[in-house]
Subunit: 245 residues, 4 copies
């Protein structure tokens, strides 16, 4: 494929992306609850806990692509390691944001990831450890470029929950870094994808990982709902945030 | 252990290192041949070919440490990925230096690594994929800081073989980068090694990987010797460099 | 925990299992279509194609548990390898059953796994490569013991589609082997699970992997529906089976 | 290549093997010490300790070949898992034999593997995790068929050290099992090796892993020598066996 054809494909990829986001957000009970202002800080805490979990693994599975791709172009391998280095430790921002709301919890005492989060994490390792080495770019393609879709939701959350910017370090730091990353990811696709199969692999991972993230949002909402209904269990410790809107 | 005790251990590590280098270099037929000026460009080409092979894997096994160390401190994981990114593609310098002598060979046509090189590569993956996550620092500890030991040999090689600096890009680039790396490696040891076991693991990998590198030098010399004796086989293509001293 | 407590837990695990199966089957459009006899051989072929894909990986991820669990009891490691050996190549039964319906397709030409199948495969590698080494028993626990839940569906399929037993080798071979396996899996749980955490890990993987299999069934039904609606694309080649009920 | 050509290659492989064994045994100080009856039970204990270490990993790296070889023939993958299952836990025989001499030591208190043993272990993982999936057969080819070379040494050891057969379970069990294994390994080579490259890969691993085993023998002898000279350190606990010839 020519560079022009690949750029054309990127446009189509963006259209596909808009459509999948639309499907996910319009069907999301979590988004509906935010829109209808039926939430409190527990929802944000729950989301940040899962963010902590998958973020811990993102740098690792990103680096894994470079580790196992013995035949990949050095500039792509270098991107994998550089990108991994830049994302390392970002789970601590998510943890900071959770704690900033007044939760007194240590890293080692966090509840384990929800099943939906484990499934996303497992999928990202799987597509990183085998298959087309370029396919993980499909995850970065949407993840580094999600702010146009989620900013309205984040802003609404922030306002409703009375959160200061210093309590949203994960999102604010990423929306800054990710602009640069999004451009790098585009460049990697344009430089290294050579065939239809490369682009199909990127698209498949883009859609699948975004839909799994949608299921993670659903799972977060389910836990929130059950907390609202007074359920006890693992997440009960979040009830100190109950009245904080 | 206190930081002071660890710094003391670093001094002991350096003493041990000097002693192992001394053993290796004084028993090395390759070094002896260089000292006695019984070499030609084939020897350097052979060494650079093996350097190409292990260097291709060094960034990868370095990154692997970060990938699999789920409990390691983020600053150490970040070091692993950063360091991997910086070393990525350096095998191309070794290839450049080989080709600069007039060998017309493509990457895909290079002979496979010698067994001694495979053994070194395999060992580095092994200590990177399991065991104490800090232990690979033992390899970096000597590798990033080897110039005091090998510079006299490189200089003698360069002079005897009439090589320009532009034909020694692998060594020259590394001796510059590695100064910074050596300091970072020291800092990582001082910051992250907490126990006697950590330091023992570092020392074990330092000594073992250096001795395996010594065996790689022996293997390179053996191939050179057999070429000198007129043997045919895989490395015959190097004979175009025969008369070039 | 005592053996008695663990046996009690197994009973609870079986109750939980019955409940998850009930949720999945009662919400499944695929099951509904079978019950209402609105299916043809394309549905079975689609399901067998996905079965081919995940089965190719089941032996491998089972063995991976033994490979990476350096501290596990030898008898558990041996179980992992024995069990893997017994499952190896069973994807060829699924392929045979697809081909027996009259599809002339070679292994290398099969369509890739659906995203839902990739997600299941990725999850099984993930829980096999890290975490509690016993947790993969949660997958085997339901998979080797699923016939009481799925036999009515298989029987109905077989009758509606006019399939001979020789066209159901995957199910028939497995329902025989799996009786023995199910007992072995129970024994492994009773012998090796020692703590609440072990059993929680087993339960989490049991539920998560079964729900992912439910999503695989949904995905199969979605493709079938779109074929019924005349969609073209990857699975069009199955339309030769269209009229065969 | 035809089956006939491959069988011819097997003959050549056996000739090569005889030659490498001859080189190793004739240069081995350990063998010389046995021949000159300058040994005591510490030597056997040291060898069994290292045998314990590499044997713990042999089943695992054997299974790894099947795990990662996604395109390999099912019958070869099954062989990998079956063979792994049969070798699992055999390190306990080595431990039994050490303890049978009167050493009161628990598995968890064993000294770590010597560097030479780590190098062998690492190499076997390396050739199992990447490269030609058939190449690990080169290790099995000599390891399952080593008794003609080592039996005279073992017999001499047994006699000199006054060991009963029940104290040589590792060797006796293996010499029985391995006859069957050796035949299976030959069959695997004949069935699955199709090209010169396959056979070269098998030969390379055969020779390299055997030479690394030779270095392991040297390392065992070095520790024994230093114990004889009265050195203190990790292996001092073996001195209770000092006078037992």
């Amino acid at each position: 494929m020519t560079k022009e054809e690949i750029k054309q494909k990127l446009t189509e990829l963006n259209e596909k992306l808009a459509q999948v986001w639309d499907e996910i957000l319009s069907a999301s009970e979590l988004v509906q609850a935010i829109n209808e202002k039926r939430i409190d800080q527990r929802l944000f805490a729950l989301y940040m806990l899962e963010t902590y979990h998958y973020t811990r693994h993102n740098a690792r599975n990103q680096a894994l692509v470079g580790v196992r791709s013995f035949q990949a172009a050095p500039s792509y391998v270098k991107f994998c390691f550089d990108h991994a280095a830049e994302e390392t430790g970002h789970e601590l921002m998510a943890l900071h944001d959770v704690k900033s709301m007044g939760l007194n919890i240590e890293e080692k005492d966090l509840p384990p990831a929800l099943p939906a989060t484990e499934v996303l994490i497992g999928y990202l390792y799987w597509i990183s450890m085998q298959g087309n080495p370029l396919q993980r770019l499909g995850y970065s393609f949407w993840a580094e470029n999600c702010y146009q879709y989620i900013n309205p939701i984040i802003n609404s959350l922030q306002e409703q929950l009375g959160l200061k910017s210093s309590q949203l370090t994960f999102f604010i730091a990423h929306s800054t870094i990710d602009e640069k990353h999004a451009e790098e990811v585009n460049n990697m696709i344009i430089t290294h994808c050579k065939t239809e199969d490369d682009l199909k692999a990127v698209e498949k991972v883009m859609e699948t990982s975004l839909r799994l993230t949608g299921q993670l949002l659903n799972a977060v909402y389910d836990v929130y709902s059950s907390l609202e209904k007074g359920s006890s269990g693992t997440y009960q410790f979040l009830n100190v945030l109950k009245k904080i809107k």
